[in-house]
């Protein structure tokens, strides 16, 4: 392909797939991108990383020619994205954040449509179709409606459509959101194969374990490029500042809170039974050693992760104490069991979504519900919080049967969903007043609680704004405030931080850890393996059945025994799901 425009002729873009020079973009008073210059190379997977609102999607849309920059220029495969807009659509493939396919068409019909939109003859390109279907492993599902595919399969179909015209540059906008580790593994394998063929792939993400796997990373924050290079280079910059307090057991949450209050600590998270901490630049580990000595746990230096370096670059994580939890009265329950289910089963016609699941969750426990897409995780979750009636078996929340005393059980549980479920048409104050009212709070109690939530979550400046206009972090605080207005002893979180950046996620977990220390029982579903590390115990579901139930560390140990060295939670997830997959064949 012969580069047509003057941009390539200057020689500056020789060999680079994307050349970005001095890019600026404003939306009103918001500066989405500030004099950004960068390169993306062929045959490499480049991660576009940054917290929410960093400008990732804006940059993606400029690269695909959907937005025109205010200043600066971009050449993609030698073509200027503004002047040679038509050529851009030929040489690039773009997969938008939201599933850009037609849900009422089948897999095959979607692929035909995209082929025709690209000017390809579907009949003559049967070979290409077969190849793409084979590549994405979608061949058995060609007649299924796209709307009925699981999250991971939708992304694969989106990828197949984006690959239709054999682009030289492939742009993927947050392809990992809502995709379970097994499907994500598939996506990685495909992208790997593509870059090996010489394609340039840009993968935007807020998940830092994904960024760590990229060959090169562009790190954005508030529209500025903070880092450009291989992720290992940034991690190496951090040096020897990562530590872990080993085997802290039940005290780990208290330890994390104390550690984050130390001036020498910039960031910390729970990792299984341990606490992972990062020191501030220039600080020494004396304070940490003292803390470890007081708590009588071992302090070990651990290799830095990309995430440690990322948070450090952004100025460290939020503090460790939760104003919310401090005000929360300790939860007293008659029994130690907060949530339980016994032989819980749910069928939809012939399909069994949840099959004989039984477990008990203790008071003050953070209990994770994990599994691949379509494993019955959300069906089980919905039955536990009363959104779905079980076909057989029973579920109890603080001793109330959800079938017989659903009102009493529902008054004792809080619920926060992935989409935050706020009334977009109502103001922040009206949302708070509604949730107080719908849980039956009256008079002084009601006024007091609302004032308390506004104060705790620092919502005072936003009271008359609508939830949609809030920054993501504040929106999440509002959702949490609404879910906790009635001080429930049990809190249900349905993928609470999906698509949320690491800083906001840390703030969220600070509150959750604080609540758990006050005796609130937390039930959480997640695709995010770092989040599973925060759980006391994790229930793994696969093909409607409970395949494992243990602490994160114990699950990792099982995987280690199967031959994985130093398994991550993600490795454990994939190992457990894949080894359970063989069982039905043995039984048959």
């Amino acid at each position: 392909m012969q580069p047509a425009s003057a941009v390539a002729a200057t020689g500056a873009g020789e060999g680079a797939a994307v050349v970005i020079e001095g890019l600026d973009k404003h939306f009103g008073s918001l500066r989405a991108l500030r004099s950004l210059s960068a390169r993306v190379h062929y045959g490499r997977l480049t991660g576009l990383v940054g917290p929410d609102g960093a400008g990732k999607t804006t940059l993606m849309r400029i690269l695909t020619g959907l937005l025109v920059p205010d200043a600066g220029r971009v050449a993609l495969a030698g073509y200027d994205v503004v002047r040679d807009n038509d050529a851009i659509h030929v040489v690039s493939g773009y997969m938008p954040q939201r599933f850009g396919l037609y849900e009422d068409l089948s897999v095959m019909e979607n692929m035909r449509l995209y082929a025709q939109l690209r000017g390809l003859d579907a009949e003559r390109n049967a070979g290409l179709f077969a190849e793409l279907l084979d590549f994405t492993r979608l061949a058995p599902f060609t007649t299924r409606l796209a709307g009925r595919l699981s999250g991971g399969m939708k992304q694969k179909l989106g990828l197949a459509c984006a690959l239709m015209a054999r682009p030289r540059v492939l742009l993927l906008d947050e392809p990992g959101v809502g995709v379970d580790p097994v499907s994500r593994q598939d996506l990685w394998r495909m992208v790997q194969a593509l870059t090996d063929e010489g394609m340039a792939v840009v993968w935007s993400t807020a998940y830092l374990d994904e960024a760590e796997r990229c060959q090169s990373v562009l790190l954005l924050n508030q529209g500025q490029l903070l880092f450009d290079g291989p992720p290992g280079e940034l991690t190496a910059q951090l040096g020897e500042r990562s530590f872990r307090l080993e085997n802290a057991g039940a005290r780990r949450r208290a330890l994390l809170t104390r550690a984050l209050e130390l001036p020498s600590v910039s960031d910390g998270v729970i990792q299984g039974a341990g606490v992972r901490l990062v020191l501030r630049k220039g600080a020494d580990s004396a304070q940490l050693r003292e803390l470890a000595g007081q708590a009588q746990v071992r302090l070990a230096a651990v290799p830095a992760r990309f995430e440690d370096a990322f948070i450090d670059l952004l100025g460290g994580g939020p503090g460790g104490s939760s104003a919310l939890a401090e005000r929360f009265a300790p939860v007293e329950l008659d029994s130690d069991i907060a949530v339980s289910c016994h032989q819980l089963t749910r069928r939809f016609g012939d399909f069994t979504a949840t099959d004989n699941v039984s477990f008990e969750v203790h008071r003050g426990e953070i209990f994770g519900l994990l599994g691949p897409n379509g494993a019955g995780k959300s069906t089980t979750f919905k039955m536990l919080c009363g959104l779905l009636r079980p076909t057989s078996g029973e579920a109890q929340v603080v001793g109330h049967d959800l079938r017989r005393a659903s009102g009493a059980a529902k008054a004792r549980l809080g619920y926060m969903a992935q989409k935050f479920s706020l009334y977009g048409l109502l103001s922040v104050r009206q949302n708070l007043e509604f949730s107080a009212g719908v849980y039956g709070l009256e008079g002084d109690t009601r006024r007091q609680r609302i004032a308390e939530m506004i104060d705790t979550f620092d919502l005072g400046g936003w009271l008359s704004a609508t939830p949609d206009s809030l920054p993501l972090g504040h929106k999440q605080r509002l959702a949490l405030a609404c879910a906790l207005m009635h001080r429930p002893p049990v809190l249900f979180l349905d993928e609470p931080t999906s698509g949320v950046d690491p800083i906001t996620r840390r703030e969220f977990w600070t509150h959750i850890n604080g609540l758990a220390r006050k005796g609130v029982t937390i039930m959480v579903t997640t695709h995010f393996m770092d989040e599973a590390e925060y759980c006391d115990r994790v229930a793994m579901l696969s093909r409607a059945r409970l395949i494992a139930l243990d602490t994160p560390d114990a699950l990792k140990r099982i995987t280690a025994e199967a031959g994985h060295a130093e398994p991550t939670m993600e490795d454990a997830f994939i190992h457990l799901v894949e080894s359970s997959g063989r069982e039905p064949e043995v039984a048959a």
Partner: protein, 372 residues
């Protein structure tokens, strides 16, 4: 915290939420405020079946007294804005072709002579068939004028005794007298249907419906909180149209206002039930709006406002009895013009009560079904 089956606090919170959602949502605001204003304007100034302000052409080949008399009467007729005098058949044709006139009158040479001889004179009327409705009405007006001229000539009993038609309740057949009361029903129907059908679908799009279902609120509270705003707005709109009918269009209101108000409330309740059913099965607001029109438009057409129910096939007549608007139309039109007695109103009121009970019960079944 005790969770009871019914709590006024929870209900009040949900009611406020519903009212705010309607008032703060541009789409709902449009549903509530635009149609009544628009319809009021349309019906006060534009929409009428009467023919007014038309132009006609005349090609008069007769110089006699009677054609002169006819032209005089045409010129003074109130429905005619202007009479074009032409001097050839071709020109006449051209004016109609161009659409400059809706009808043309060609008076032959022997017109006055024939009348003077005691026969009835014949004149040709050409009508623009493209505007068939107005054209036919124009022909009717013209022949009335022509007949008057003829009758003036032969005043005695030679002409057949004319049948005198008297239109009861609406002696001058004022079109608005008929349409405005009917509009009360249509307006209340669509606003209540759209407001309720959007309500659950909107929450489902936002994900707040799940949030509502995990709270201790009961199905009854959800239904009541979603019905009340629609009921209030529908009733206000209905009353607005009724008062517009009475005070603006000066339509005689002869029935019982209390009974009409009661029927209006029952009518809207039955529509609210239908709207909630549509909303419970719709996944998005778009589906809900489509659903509301898919039910609302056939309901209006079959209610008897366009064609009498008695003219429909028997099966459709039964179906029409299940449409709340059918019964409400009888009551509202009866209350306006006929001074309908209480007994007749009650005869149409109890079917409304049955329909309201049925639709609201079904709606709660549908909403509970979402929990399965």
């Amino acid at each position: 915290m005790r969770a009871s089956r019914f709590s006024f606090t929870r209900l009040r919170a949900q009611f406020i939420k519903e009212v705010l959602s309607i008032l703060r949502d541009p789409r709902s605001r449009m549903v509530v405020f635009v149609p009544p204003i628009l319809q009021l304007l349309v019906f006060s100034f534009a929409a009428t079946l009467e023919v007014r302000n038309i132009d006609i052409a005349v090609y008069n080949q007769d110089a006699g007294r009677w054609s002169h008399e006819l032209l005089q009467r045409l010129a003074s007729a109130r429905f005619i804005a202007r009479v074009h005098h032409v001097d050839s058949q071709r020109h006449l044709r051209e004016l109609i072709d161009r659409g400059a006139v809706i009808a043309a009158l060609a008076i032959p040479v022997d017109f006055s002579r024939t009348i003077a001889a005691g026969d009835s004179g014949r004149a040709q009327v050409l009508v623009d068939g493209r505007r068939s409705n107005s054209g036919q009405i124009t022909v009717a007006y013209l022949s009335t004028i022509a007949a008057d001229v003829g009758a003036g000539v032969v005043p005695d009993a030679q002409a057949p005794t004319p049948v005198v038609v008297r239109h009861w309740f609406n002696p001058n057949l004022v079109y608005r007298w008929f349409i405005v009361p009917g509009l009360t029903g249509i307006l209340a129907l669509f606003s209540a249907l759209l407001i309720t059908s959007l309500s659950i679908a909107r929450e489902r799009e936002l994900g707040t419906f799940d949030q509502l279902l995990v709270s201790p609120t009961s199905t009854a509270e959800i239904i009541i909180s979603k019905s009340l705003p629609a009921l209030a707005i529908g009733t206000l709109l209905g009353l607005f149209m009724i008062s517009a009918g009475i005070f603006l269009f000066a339509i005689p209101f002869t029935g019982s206002f209390v009974l009409l108000l009661a029927s209006l409330v029952l009518f809207i309740l039955s529509v609210v039930g239908i709207g909630l059913m549509i909303s419970a099965v719709s996944m998005t607001q778009q589906q809900a709006i489509l659903g509301a029109f898919a039910i609302g438009v056939p309901a209006v057409l079959m209610s008897g406002i366009a064609t009498p129910v008695e003219n429909m096939p028997v099966v459709l007549q039964w179906l029409a009895q299940a449409i709340p608007l059918t019964h409400f139309l009888v009551i509202v039109e009866g209350s306006f013009l006929k001074a309908m007695p209480a007994g007749d109103i009650l005869a149409n009121l109890w079917p409304l009560a049955v329909i309201a009970l049925a639709t609201l019960t079904l709606a709660s079944v549908f909403i509970r079904g979402r929990l399965q």
